[in-house]
């Protein structure tokens, strides 16, 4: 179990992608991210939620706040028990898609967020963790 989880959204239907976006937008707005950062975080969440819906069938999104070393941030965790990703390097290549997509979801999310970790096991599932730190202006 991960500490400090604020909300959890089950991704089962396609409409849950919208629910993930809504949940993340509300949270990120509440925690005073700039509009551009809110848009980045929500867009990344949309990509990862859709990947779960498309490739794993179902899964869950959780989010929590991060605090430490004088920095604050938000962490989103996307977990599924789908087929896993055989070749991670290939999956992160721009334009690589097994579904006729643009192949931008994973590499684009990495650019939009400050940190991205992915743990995937073939036949077991995939967990993607992304973080965005708050800028001090």
């Amino acid at each position: 179990m991960i500490d400090g989880i604020r909300e959890e959204v089950a991704i089962i239907d396609e409409s849950d992608i919208i629910l993930v976006r809504k949940t993340v937008r509300e949270a990120a707005t509440k925690f005073n991210y700039s509009l551009t950062d809110v848009t980045r975080i929500v867009t990344a969440a949309s990509e990862l939620a859709r990947n779960i819906f498309l490739y794993a069938g179902s899964g869950v999104m959780r989010w929590r706040l991060l605090e430490g070393n004088g920095a604050k941030g938000m962490e989103l965790i996307f977990e599924d028990r789908g087929p896993g990703i055989t070749d991670l390097e290939q999956a992160f290549q721009e334009g690589y898609s097994t579904s006729g997509g643009l192949g931008l979801g994973l590499p684009g999310t990495q650019r939009l967020m400050d940190e991205m970790e992915i743990d995937t096991r073939v036949g077991v599932g995939t967990t993607v963790v992304v973080r965005k730190w708050q800028r001090r202006y």
């Binding site: 919208i18 848009t39 980045r40 949309s46």
Partner: protein
């Protein structure tokens, strides 16, 4: 003559709808803030059907309300623009919010080189300019 119709997507959370308005010989389509995948797919079909039916010379896609432009939405927009060109009309995407433009660029979206405009007024000008140029040549 202005024709207006509302298409309701399967949208249980926000119940957003897409408005399709015909102004002279241009089809003006306004996207809701957070359209789901089904709404976006329906949009593509309805737009192509309307272009054929009303024999318009252009499509202006107003995305000024759109808060999240992810890889799926972008792919359908780019595809639709290409199909519209094949049908002999022109597509202009109008009113992208700055935060959305920053995010889309970072994500790696290109919209397939479709024409863009700051707002709907300028988009309508582009459509009529492009049409006149084509008439002359």
């Amino acid at each position: 003559m202005i024709e207006q119709r509302h298409l309701k997507g399967r949208e249980p959370i926000t119940g957003e709808s897409i408005s399709v308005i015909k102004i002279r010989d241009v089809l003006l389509v306004a996207m809701p803030p957070d359209p789901d995948d089904t709404t976006i797919t329906i949009l593509q079909e309805k737009v192509l059907a309307a272009i054929e039916r009303y024999q318009v010379k252009g499509l202006v896609l107003d995305i000024s309300a759109v808060q999240t432009l992810d890889s799926f939405f972008a792919r359908v927009v780019a595809e639709t623009a290409q199909m519209v060109v094949l049908m002999g009309a022109q597509t202009v995407i109008a009113g992208m919010q700055p935060s959305v433009a920053i995010t889309a660029t970072q994500l790696g979206l290109t919209l397939g080189g479709a024409l863009t405009a700051l707002n709907v007024d300028l988009a309508l000008e582009i459509v009529s300019d492009a049409f006149q140029r084509r008439q002359r040549s």
